[in-house]
């Protein structure tokens, strides 16, 4: 194949994008007429592209359940709202004497128009509790498809039905709560809060108040309003959260306080949650949260380790990253690196600890993470741009950190771009900048005596899930 054929074939690959100039298009046509081999290439290319596209469509079908699986914040909110609507529906339970037909669940594989029909057919105005449940189910189905607007409409319908099918006082309460659900589903946290406040003023002794406040707190947490969330969880606990397990609400309280930056208060809440009567599983979750808090915001590696060892001794199966953490801590070098990392977090002296880490533990994941934190190289940037940014950083940083920049750049070049020659140059630059441990590592990498990006420390990679 000569150079002209190669160019034509590469242009044939670009042709479907419609970005070729008219002149290039004409050149391709002329060439194809004359050259049988390129004609055959064009035909094969069309066939292969079509076949690969068909394969992709088949794989795409397997992706359909992803929409239902994805851990959407909005989904959590509406599911939480669903619980609240059920509570609202309970107002009307027993008020109707009509027999309650079973409520079939809509098939989640149906097309969206069917969901709309379900809403229209199953929730006529003025119908009773089963209709509320059907509306709720329709909202869930709509949500599983990612149609959060429709889910909001369903919940609005539910609110209207609830208001129309119960005696006045209950209807008002139900309507306020269902209205709060709809507000939350539409992402209007302030609206949800205002309706719950109205509900609270109208009936401060309602047994539904505690769970409702806990629900509102979750909505606020979803919107990142951690102070409000913590306040409402405290109110919920004061009002009584039954039938919700107290342990889970206390755990959520600790989480909200932690997010609001009230670290010591959060620690107390986690401890309370772990000691709550009948805490069980929630107690374990609270201890795990405590260990994470100690490790992260409090920078107390020893305390975190103590909690984890106790859980381990009690036969609790630790999450994999915490199990690995305990393993990593058995290595004195990694222990030291992690300790420096957590101190860097706590003491706000990250530059000092980074310098220490780079000199003493250049291979540690802790070093890598701290470097990335202090000198962010956005992951979404193309790899070449990240390498350029690292090179630019290297020109401004002190020698040890500059060497580290080149080491990271070398790894990117070797692992992501598979450009060993360019990686070698980057490693050599790193080796020239450091005569210590980092320099020796860079030298070994430049000579191919070490595999880039595959150190045992990196395998541990525990810190990402602890932050």
């Amino acid at each position: 194949m000569d150079e002209a054929c190669r160019e034509i074939r590469e242009d044939l690959i670009e042709k479907p994008d419609g970005t070729l100039s008219a002149e290039k298009e004409r050149r391709i046509e002329g060439h194809i007429e004359r050259c049988a081999e390129c004609r055959a290439f064009a035909a094969d290319l069309t066939g292969l592209a079509g076949a690969m596209s068909a394969l992709a469509r088949r794989e795409e079908k397997d992706l359909a359940p992803l929409a239902a699986r994805r851990p959407s914040l909005a989904r959590r909110l509406v599911l939480a709202a669903g619980i609240l609507v059920l509570a609202a529906a309970a107002f009307t339970a027993g008020r109707t004497t009509a027999p309650r037909p079973p409520v079939p669940e809509p098939d989640p594989t149906e097309e969206p128009p069917v969901v709309t029909q379900v809403v229209e057919i199953r929730i006529p105005a003025g119908s009773d509790t089963p209709a509320l449940l059907a509306g709720l189910q329709a909202a869930r189905t709509a949500l599983a498809r990612g149609d959060e607007a429709l889910a909001g409409e369903c919940l609005d319908q539910v609110a209207r039905v609830a208001a129309g099918s119960a005696p006045e006082k209950e209807a008002r309460g139900a309507a306020l709560l269902a209205g709060a659900s709809a507000e939350a589903a539409a992402g209007r946290t302030a609206g949800a809060r205002s309706r719950v406040q109205e509900f609270r003023s109208a009936d401060p002794a309602s047994p539904a108040l505690g769970p409702t406040l806990a629900w509102l707190a979750e909505v606020e947490a979803g919107a990142g309003e951690w102070d409000q969330s913590a306040r409402h969880l405290a109110d919920a606990l004061a009002a009584g959260v039954a039938p919700l397990p107290e342990g889970t609400v206390r755990l959520a309280f600790g989480g909200a306080l932690e997010k609001a930056g009230r670290v010591e208060k959060a620690r107390e809440a986690y401890l309370d949650a772990s000691r709550a009567p009948g805490a069980g599983r929630w107690g374990t979750e609270a201890r795990l949260a405590l260990a994470r808090l100690d490790l992260g915001r409090r920078g107390d590696l020893a305390e975190a380790e103590r909690t984890l060892r106790e859980l381990e001794a009690a036969g609790v199966a630790l999450p994999p990253e915490l199990e690995r953490l305990l393993l990593v801590l058995q290595d004195p070098g990694e222990r030291e690196a992690l300790q420096a990392y957590v101190l860097a977090q706590r003491e706000g002296a990250a530059e000092y600890y980074l310098d220490l880490l780079v000199r003493e533990h250049p291979e540690s994941e802790a070093t890598r993470r701290l470097f990335a934190k202090l000198h962010p190289i956005e992951e979404e940037r193309p790899v070449r741009a990240r390498v350029e940014r690292l090179g630019e950083l290297a020109s401004r940083l002190p020698p040890a950190l500059a060497a580290y920049s080149w080491l990271v750049a070398g790894d990117l070049l070797a692992v992501d771009l598979e450009d060993r020659a360019a990686a070698k140059i980057a490693y050599e630059k790193a080796a020239r900048l450091s005569t210590g441990r980092l320099g020796r590592l860079a030298l070994a990498l430049s000579r191919g005596e070490r595999e880039p990006g595959s150190t045992s420390a990196r395998e541990a990679c525990i810190l990402a899930s602890l932050e």
Binding site: E10, T19, A51, M52, R58, R70, A149, E380, R381
Partner: protein
């Protein structure tokens, strides 16, 4: 960005979370293919797509508005897949379905439909070619988008695809002649 995508994007920017859900669904395949081109298995690629959702939700501000949205989504997905592989210390990447290579061409071809043979041929390409083919023909990205995702020049993408297509032609030709 086409008109529908622009509208969804505008709604997402205005705080409509359902718009993000739709945008995500629209480009789920591109993210999946992008992850699969790096990940060790389709199951892992699916997990990466999940992770991408979490990563992207609420990070609108991170998008600089350069290039296409699908390329950004695919880039994030690819990076997460690379990070996962790296965490597992599993680089260099194994080819998914490479086991057919061990069976010998006859055994591998027996009982396989043409689509499956093609898939295995794609999976058996060298990592760089396989990834580029997946992004272009399975994810349906334009050459410019593939270049953005891979962080490489357009010309390099064209050359890589050319080499890959030639290999696939030979492989598929061998299969049909054999």
């Amino acid at each position: 960005m086409d008109e529908a995508e622009s509208e969804l994007f505008r709604r997402w920017r205005a705080g409509d979370r359902s718009a993000f859900g739709r945008l995500f669904s629209l480009h789920a395949n591109a993210m999946y293919q992008s992850a699969l081109s790096v990940a060790g298995s389709s199951e892992e690629a699916r997990d990466v797509v999940q992770e991408t959702y979490v990563r992207l939700a609420g990070r609108l501000a991170d998008w600089r508005g350069e290039g296409s949205l699908v390329a950004w989504f695919a880039t994030v997905s690819r990076r997460l897949a690379i990070d996962r592989r790296r965490r597992k210390g599993a680089l260099p990447l194994p080819a998914e379905g490479a086991s057919s290579r061990d069976e010998g061409p006859e055994a591998a071809a027996a009982g396989l439909e043409e689509g499956e043979i093609l898939r295995r041929a794609v999976d058996a390409l060298p990592p760089l070619q396989r990834e580029t083919v997946r992004l272009r023909y399975f994810a349906g990205l334009s050459l410019a988008e593939v270049a953005a995702v891979r962080g490489t020049a357009l010309g390099t993408v064209k050359a890589t695809l050319h080499q890959a297509i030639e290999k696939l032609r030979r492989e598929m030709g061998d299969q049909s002649n054999g």
